[in-house]
């Protein structure tokens, strides 16, 4: 839908499959290409949350009851939604886009986001290359190519993205907006039931038909509130892009009343705080590379201890493994009134944990990561590998080569 150039459209809507579907595919790649319904177990009385294209082709849609969905697609797999993995996918998606440009807004629909392209055009003056770069970046992270729609407003770009296919973006030039929208049914607009009913009674079934009504006549008939819908129909979207910002730090704190001077109790509390921090990190798909332990002492200066990790860690066990030795070594001279854990240097967990979204991983670091962490903590020689050199001198010390793992 690319036409003559009058003014560059500047909002790109990026639409991916539902994050729960992406999470399910990342966990079990064999499910890709098969009819898949997410929402719960078959025997549960819950609704469909996400559905693959193959199941959708059989008539299953979001919001339908699982029982009904099974009747429509008897061969489809019905699985529960992994909420944590879904959150991680969504966070990874947004964080990746944020690294492209800070002009990013998260759409209310899952798997959808908006980018302002103004700054990106400085880096990629050619629009086709820019859109290809966005597609490639997203595909590397979530394993699926997104559908892109580019237009001068959020609404039109959303409509364009919903009619685009992966690898074939739809670009709507500003002067073509009205004509582009005219072909779509009025259901494309965010109508309430009453307004839809009125419009249908009047025989207005497409946006193009609605565009033929004058603004004043529409206001007289449907009131001031409905004018927002009319504006959308003629391509005017007054909503502003609400910038999405990645979290900078996650903090958990616990006042200690009465003050604690027992190391065991302190470890117990620190463990509980690590679990709180871990829950927040997991929910946002993040890992932390540094945790600051702040210990408020009774009638003594505040003590701060820094724990650093070789890679972004997420789970409470990993966090506490770093925190515990520092806590035991801290020079605490008075009972503690408060303990605070502050997780900083937050990064998407997938950067150093590519297996985060793979089953049985994400909660288990690889042996290479474990060795790297031990070597960072205790020095390189702590973990070694041995090699026997049969061609070396007869002295055993010469025949055996020790090197850091």
């Amino acid at each position: 839908m690319t036409h003559g150039k009058s003014r560059d459209p500047d909002i790109c809507c990026i639409r991916t499959p539902h994050p729960s579907l992406l999470a399910a595919w990342l966990k079990t790649p064999a499910w890709r290409g098969r009819p898949l319904i997410l929402g719960g177990h078959v025997h549960e009385r819950s609704d469909v949350v996400a559905v693959s294209a193959e199941a959708r082709a059989q008539g299953v849609v979001e919001g339908m009851s699982l029982n009904r969905a099974q009747q429509f697609a008897p061969d489809a797999m019905i699985e529960p939604v992994d909420q944590e993995a879904t959150a991680r996918v969504r966070q990874s998606f947004l964080a990746t886009l944020h690294r492209l440009t800070p002009d990013l807004a998260a759409a209310p629909e899952p798997g959808c986001a908006f980018l302002r392209l103004d700054r990106l055009t400085l880096r990629w003056p050619d629009r086709a290359r820019l859109l290809a770069a966005i597609t490639r970046t997203i595909e590397e992270v979530i394993g699926s190519a997104p559908a892109l729609g580019v237009a001068s407003s959020m609404f039109v770009s959303t409509v364009a993205a919903s009619h685009a296919t992966p690898g074939r973006p739809v670009v709507v030039e500003p002067d073509q907006t009205r004509a582009y929208l005219a072909r779509f049914p009025i259901d494309t607009l965010p109508l309430d039931d009453d307004l839809r009913e009125y419009l249908e009674l009047l025989g207005v079934r497409t946006i193009g038909r609605l565009q033929t009504i004058s603004r004043q006549a529409f206001r007289r008939q449907f009131g001031l509130k409905a004018l927002d819908v009319y504006d959308l129909a003629i391509g005017i979207d007054r909503r502003r892009l609400q910038p999405w910002r990645p979290p900078v730090r996650i903090e958990a704190s616990e006042p200690l009343e009465p003050p604690v001077d027992n190391t065991q109790a302190l470890q117990f509390i620190a463990r509980a705080l690590a679990e709180q921090v871990s829950t927040s990190l997991l929910a946002q798909g993040l890992g932390t590379r540094a945790v600051r332990i702040v210990l408020n002492q009774e009638a003594a200066p505040v003590l701060a201890v820094e724990v650093r990790y070789a890679y972004p860690v997420t789970t409470a066990t990993e966090l506490f493994d770093g925190i515990r030795p520092r806590l035991l070594r801290a020079s605490i001279i008075a009972p503690l009134e408060r303990i605070t854990l502050r997780a900083g240097r937050l990064e998407p967990a997938y950067i150093r944990q590519p297996g985060l979204l793979i089953r049985r991983d994400g909660f288990q670091e690889s042996i290479a990561d474990a060795v790297a962490r031990l070597q960072e903590e205790y020095g390189a020689p702590v973990v070694q590998r041995a090699e026997v050199r049969s061609d070396a001198a007869p002295l055993p010390d010469h025949r055996i080569l020790w090197k850091p793992a």
Partner: protein
């Protein structure tokens, strides 16, 4: 278990429910040790997974040699680690018994705490078997570290072999699920006078998973010698 005994137990379970006889030992997965005699001694077919096994005995009783043979066998299946407090590990010996040295991580910690932290981290990362060579002189404070360590290895399904002096501390004896005590009976020489191996007596001092008290005697061959027993590799 004989069929008739099993039938009798089933009848009792039907009649008396939870009051019926049940196995004294909980079911536990085992990792083959690579030595048929040890697999038979333990009663479960190898070293228990997710638990601590203690190899005790005086110097020269063969406990380290046997642990290294188990390590070699496990390295052929997956990643293994050896926490070498006294720096006595001989990679050449391991390579002669077909250990996969590329799958072996050797940890040489400066302190007990450092060693225990390394074991916890490696166990959780997926190392299958960890051998710990811990002399009595370096074991001070082990009783405080063991509960935390055992919890972690149970979670990670890692097998822990502790090589320790004969008179193991009470704490280790308490926490170990399996204790094998070794005694050297004789050195075995070839007719030409070369050392071929050693004859050991092994006894199960403690076993939480099968009846204890079993004993066995066999020759542990050295890699360059030949075993009297054709079953021993």
């Amino acid at each position: 278990m004989p069929d008739r005994l099993q039938q009798a137990i089933t009848v009792l379970q039907t009649r008396f429910g939870s009051a019926a006889p049940r196995p004294a030992a909980p079911p536990c997965a085992a990792r083959p040790s690579g030595i048929a005699e040890i697999d038979a001694l333990t009663g479960i077919g190898g070293w228990p997974v997710g638990r601590l096994s203690l190899l005790a005995g005086p110097r020269g009783s063969g406990k380290r040699t046997l642990a290294q043979r188990s390590l070699a066998a496990a390295s052929r299946e997956g990643p293994v680690a050896y926490v070498d407090f006294p720096s006595r590990l001989d990679p050449e010996f391991l390579s002669r018994i077909d250990a996969r040295l590329d799958r072996l991580l050797v940890v040489r910690p400066k302190s007990l705490r450092e060693g225990m932290a390394s074991i916890r981290v490696l166990a959780r990362a997926g190392v299958d078997l960890i051998g710990i060579d811990l002399p009595r002189a370096r074991a001070a404070g082990l009783d405080a570290e063991l509960p935390h360590l055992l919890h972690r290895i149970a979670e990670a399904d890692c097998t822990l072999l502790l090589i320790h002096d004969a008179d193991a501390d009470d704490a280790i004896r308490y926490y170990a699920s399996l204790i094998l005590s070794f005694q050297r009976r004789a050195w075995v020489f070839s007719r030409g006078g070369d050392l071929e191996g050693l004859e050991v007596d092994a006894a199960v001092v403690k076993n939480r998973l099968a009846p204890p008290g079993r004993t066995e005697r066999w020759v542990v061959p050295y890699p360059h010698g030949k075993s009297r027993d054709p079953d021993i590799p």
